[in-house]
């Protein structure tokens, strides 16, 4: 029943009727309670500086989580984004370090991400291999490629490239603006385009979609490419913010963070249901949790336990709440 319920949330744009949305996205309540608790106990959680930090932090996650969520909705998944992120950051940083213009550097990064995504997409959508296996393999292979190409850390990318991670647009950090655009694009895609509907159809019942004349390969393939591009963009942003990239460690574990945000946000791993609003909430949930625990000076291992438990609790609440609401 839960699956059916979450489907109902799908076509809405981010703004939608209050109570219904609350019932469908109990994570909003969880998030609200968490934010209130952190603010009350630390006193500085809601400071603009801290919120900016969280937003900047969550931005890269959101940029990758949106297309990843679309992939999961269509019944696939991409575990290779952590390595793609590293490759994108390295290529972008390297080009910038070579004196290329920031635009060329970013385009280079995106091209690298598109290439990885295309390989994933061809193998999963056209050859029909398991997305889990293919992208898990690519996670390792792309990491190896990145380390082979760039065995040493890169740094010193110049002021032009730093704009990507550091600029302010209307008071918001550039990555936050990019993330907002990606979120809006994802929501509009699902709500307004035919392909957005097809994503759900393919995820729910691929064979029925095929028999309905829907191209069940092209749309997921495109999503793989877009996910690769998004991961590379996130990598370039991280490289810009840190003004350095290390091939071996950049973005390691990122794929799990993305998947967690997507799943906590109510996207079903079995495909066919989920919403962009949910993804946004999942991303914010992770961002606030990490930040708040640090503010509270929780010792390392307790932080780990608290993070793990909070994730499970958040997921459980999101899962059970719709039932209780009936």
């Amino acid at each position: 029943m839960t699956a059916a319920d979450s489907v109902l949330t799908r076509p809405r744009l981010v703004a939608s009727g209050g109570l219904t949305t609350l019932r469908r996205q109990p994570l909003i309540v969880v998030l609200g309670v968490m934010v209130a608790a952190f603010q009350l106990s630390t006193g500085s959680f809601l400071d603009p500086a801290n919120l900016r930090g969280i937003a900047t932090d969550a931005a890269t996650l959101a940029i990758v989580a949106v297309p990843s969520a679309l992939l999961v909705i269509s019944g696939y998944l991409d575990l290779s984004v952590g390595s793609t992120l590293a490759l994108g950051g390295l290529v972008g940083g390297w080009l910038a370090g070579q004196g290329q213009s920031p635009v060329v550097a970013v385009l280079g990064a995106l091209a690298a991400g598109a290439a990885v995504g295309a390989v994933n997409g061809v193998l999963c959508c056209y050859f029909g291999l398991s997305a889990f296996i293919v992208t898990l393999g690519m996670l390792t292979a792309v990491r190896g490629l990145a380390q082979q190409l760039f065995p040493l850390p890169l740094s010193g990318f110049g002021t032009g490239f730093a704009w990507l991670g550091g600029a302010r647009i209307a008071g918001l950090a550039a990555p936050v603006v990019v993330a907002a655009l990606v979120l809006a694009a994802g929501a509009l895609f699902l709500a307004l385009t035919p392909a957005g509907r097809h994503v759900f159809a393919i995820g729910v019942n691929r064979e029925a979609a095929h028999l309905s004349g829907i191209d069940v390969r092209r749309t997921p393939f495109a999503l793989f490419v877009i996910t690769g591009v998004a991961a590379a963009l996130a990598g370039a942003i991280k490289a810009s913010v840190l003004d350095s990239v290390v091939a071996g460690t950049s973005g390691s574990g990122f794929e799990l963070a993305v998947l967690t945000a997507v799943l906590v946000g109510g996207v079903a791993l079995t495909g066919g249901s989920g919403s962009i609003l949910g993804v946004l909430l999942g991303v914010l949930f992770l961002g606030c949790l990490q930040n708040g625990l640090t503010l509270l000076d929780v010792p390392t291992f307790w932080q780990q336990m608290a993070q793990g438990s909070a994730l499970v609790a958040g997921a459980a609440l999101a899962y059970f709440a719709p039932r209780a609401a009936r």
Partner: protein, 342 residues
């Protein structure tokens, strides 16, 4: 920016950085050079007699680290000079993979094995088997009961050097007052040693400075996120000391994003390892002011020469790779380190 924020992060990631630090215990004295006394004396005489060694196996588990590539490149060149070839493993920071790779090497009778055990206790039996098979076993980054020799690093010393330098700076620039945050590691032994050296030295020498946070961070993303959170609570933070240069570099970026000028006179960031981005920042005269650095040349030299010394029957063939603090004035040393990395 970052996303690594919960418990699912593989601990391997953490270990890599640790090891980065551990690995790096090399030396750069103020004179800074590629012929540190310990290594040089132990190994140079063995050159001729050690020539019989045709293969040296380097088992360095943290293949993700930039240092790994550097060490393999330098060691391969060093071995080649003596007509030997360098074998490597691909452990991928996994202790189980390491054990199985080492067992394979022992079975294949690789004549000399230089291994950095991820878990020392777990490697004891393999080292014994290697010795029983008549192979040379050199322990890297510590010592085992069964071994031919070892290559030692003083992890705590790196931390102590950094803590001392920071305390001295705080006394001079802040009048002994201010706020400090430590980016620490408590997940593996090397990290705990470095952390302890750093914190103990600093708090003892600068008791007037408030310790406002001790947060686990070994990579730049985490360093950035944690420092951002700390800054939200303590916008007037003065010092950030990192258990790794990578984490400290994240703190360096967080401070800048909070509006701190690159060369702010009342800010101090320091780390350990001597990694390239940090060295560049120090050289540029930013508030990234210190790194406890190891010289890859020294380590690579030891990797080749310690086994050769054992083969040549030298007494006491082991080496302790020295570590030294580099600061803004050490331009030559920094250039030398950067050249070795490159």
């Amino acid at each position: 920016m970052t996303t690594r924020r919960f418990a699912t992060v593989p601990s391997a990631t953490r270990r890599q950085f640790l090891a980065y630090s551990g690995a790096v215990a090399a030396a750069l004295t103020a004179a800074g050079c590629s012929a540190p006394p310990g290594a040089a004396t132990a190994t140079r005489p063995s050159a001729s007699s050690g020539a019989r060694l045709t293969k040296i196996g380097l088992d360095y588990p943290f293949t993700q680290l930039p240092l790994y590539s550097t060490l393999v490149k330098l060691s391969t060149a060093g071995a080649k000079k003596h007509g030997a070839s360098l074998l490597t493993t691909n452990d991928g920071a996994n202790a189980d993979t390491q054990a199985s790779n080492l067992t394979t090497w022992v079975a294949r009778k690789v004549p000399a094995i230089v291994s950095f055990p991820m878990v020392f206790e777990a490697t004891e039996a393999i080292a014994k088997a290697a010795l029983d098979a008549g192979l040379i076993w050199v322990t890297y980054g510590g010592s085992l009961e069964h071994q031919s020799a070892d290559i030692q690093f003083s992890f705590r010393k790196g931390g102590t050097l950094l803590g001392t330098a920071a305390a001295k700076w705080a006394a001079e620039q802040l009048g002994g007052k201010g706020k400090i945050a430590f980016l620490t590691d408590s997940t593996i032994e090397l990290g705990r040693e470095r952390t302890k050296g750093m914190i103990d030295a600093f708090t003892e020498l600068a008791p007037g400075v408030d310790v406002v946070a001790q947060e686990q961070a070994i990579d730049p993303d985490t360093g950035l996120a944690k420092t951002q959170a700390i800054l939200a609570k303590h916008p007037d933070l003065n010092l950030v000391l990192g258990v790794t240069d990578a984490a400290a570099y994240g703190g360096f970026k967080a401070l800048q994003q909070a509006g701190r000028k690159k060369d702010d006179a009342r800010t101090f960031v320091g780390g350990q390892d001597g990694s390239a981005p940090s060295l560049v920042a120090i050289k540029q005269g930013t508030f990234y002011r210190a790194s406890a650095a190891l010289a890859p040349d020294d380590i690579a030299h030891a990797i080749v020469e310690v086994p050769r010394a054992v083969a040549a029957g030298k007494a006491d063939p082991g080496v302790e790779v020295p570590i030294a603090l580099v600061g803004p004035g050490d331009t030559a040393a920094i250039d030398d380190l950067l050249a070795q990395n490159g």
